[in-house]
Symmetry: C2
Subunit: 200 residues, 2 copies
C-alpha cells in the first residue's frame, strides 16, 4: 500500500478546490465538467477522483470550507474588546471578498444552486444558520457591554446583516459600476445607525 503524505494530500485538495472555484465562477456548476477542473488543476481525471468522488463532492467541500472560515473568524472576534468594531471589520472583509470576482461569482452560483439542489441547499442553510448565530452572539455580547442598543432584537439584527451580505454579492453581479471597497464608510455608518441609534 502507498504511504500518504498528509501535507501533500492537503496541497492537492487545495489545488483541486482552487481550480474548481475558478471554473464554477466563470461557467457555473452545470456548464463545468470534471475534465475542465482537471485541466485547470493540471492533473489527470484518475488523480482527481482519488480525492473527490464527483463534482458534487467538490461543491460540498467548497461550501464546507466557507463554514470553517466563518467559525474561525467569529471565534477570534468574540475575544476582542470592541465588539461593534469587530462587526464593522467583518463587513469590510465581506466588501473585500465581494471585490474578488471569482469569490463573488461563486457565491452567486452557490445561492442559485442551493434553491434547486437539496444537498447543496442543506449545506448552504447550515452555513447561514451558523453565520447568523455567530453574529447574534457577537451582537448580544455587544449589548451587554453597552456597545450597541437593544431596540432591534439581536436575532433580527443578525438576520438583516446577513441579508445585507447576500445583497452585496448580488449587487456585484447586477451593477458593473459597484465597487464594494469604496462603500466601506457608508456601510459602517448604516450598520452603526442600525445597531446603535438607541445605545446607552
Amino acid at each position: 500500500m502507498r504511504k500518504v503524505d498528509p501535507d501533500k494530500h492537503d496541497a492537492r485538495v487545495r489545488q483541486i478546490l482552487d481550480a474548481a472555484r475558478a471554473c464554477f465562477a466563470e461557467k457555473g456548476f452545470h456548464q463545468t465538467s470534471t475534465a475542465a477542473i482537471c485541466a485547470r488543476a493540471g492533473m489527470s481525471p484518475g488523480n482527481l477522483f482519488h480525492y473527490f468522488s464527483s463534482k458534487q463532492a467538490i461543491i460540498a467541500a467548497i461550501v464546507d470550507g466557507e463554514r470553517r472560515d466563518v467559525a474561525e473568524y467569529f471565534s477570534s472576534a468574540m475575544q476582542a474588546a470592541d465588539l461593534l468594531g469587530e462587526i464593522l471589520a467583518f463587513m469590510d472583509m465581506i466588501l473585500a471578498l465581494a471585490a474578488d470576482k471569482t469569490f463573488a461569482g461563486l457565491a452567486l452560483e452557490i445561492v442559485a444552486e442551493a434553491t434547486r439542489d437539496p444537498e447543496i441547499g442543506a449545506r448552504v442553510s447550515r452555513n447561514d444558520v451558523e453565520l447568523r448565530s455567530a453574529l447574534q452572539a457577537l451582537i448580544t455580547a455587544a449589548e451587554e457591554r453597552g456597545q450597541v442598543g437593544r431596540a432591534l432584537p439581536s436575532a433580527d439584527a443578525a438576520t438583516w446583516i446577513a441579508t445585507l451580505i447576500d445583497g452585496i454579492f448580488s449587487r456585484v453581479g447586477i451593477d458593473p459600476d459597484f465597487s464594494p471597497k469604496a462603500h466601506s464608510s457608508t456601510l459602517r455608518l448604516m450598520i452603526t445607525r442600525m445597531l446603535c441609534a438607541d445605545a446607552a
Copy 2:
C-alpha cells in the same frame, strides 16, 4: 391577411409570460424548454412562436415588464406628501413579492443569468439603474422637505436600499425559515434609522 384583435393579442402574451415565469422559477432558464412553456400555457409551439421568436425573447419581455412596473410605481409615489412613507411602503411591497415563491425564484434566476448572458445582463443593469435613480429622486425630494437627513448621500442611500432588496430575495432562497412579511416592522425601523438619524 388575418385581423389582429389587440386585446386578444395582449391576453395571449400575458398567458405565455405567466407560464414562462412559473417554469423558469421551478426549473431555471436552461432546464426549461419552449415546449414546456407551451404545455403550461396550453398552446402549440407554432402559436407561441407567433408571439415570441425564442426563449430569450420571453426572458427579455419578463425583465422589461418589471421595468414598467417600477416606473409606474415611482411615478405615482413622487406625488405623495409623505415620501419617507412611500419608501417604507415600497419596501413592504418588496417583502410581499419576496413572499411569492414564483416571483422570488424567478428573481434569483434572473440575477444568476445576468452574470452569464450579456443581453440579459444589460437589461437587468438598466432596470437596476432606473430603480436606483427613482429611489434617489424620492430620497432627494424627501431631504428637501426635511423628511429624511442628509448625512448619507442620496445616491449611496439608494444603492444600499437596492442592496437590501437584492438581499431579501437571496435570503428567501437561502433561509427556509425566513418569512419576509414578518420582518416589515424591523425593516421599517432599519430604513428609518438609516435615512433619518440626522433628520431635522
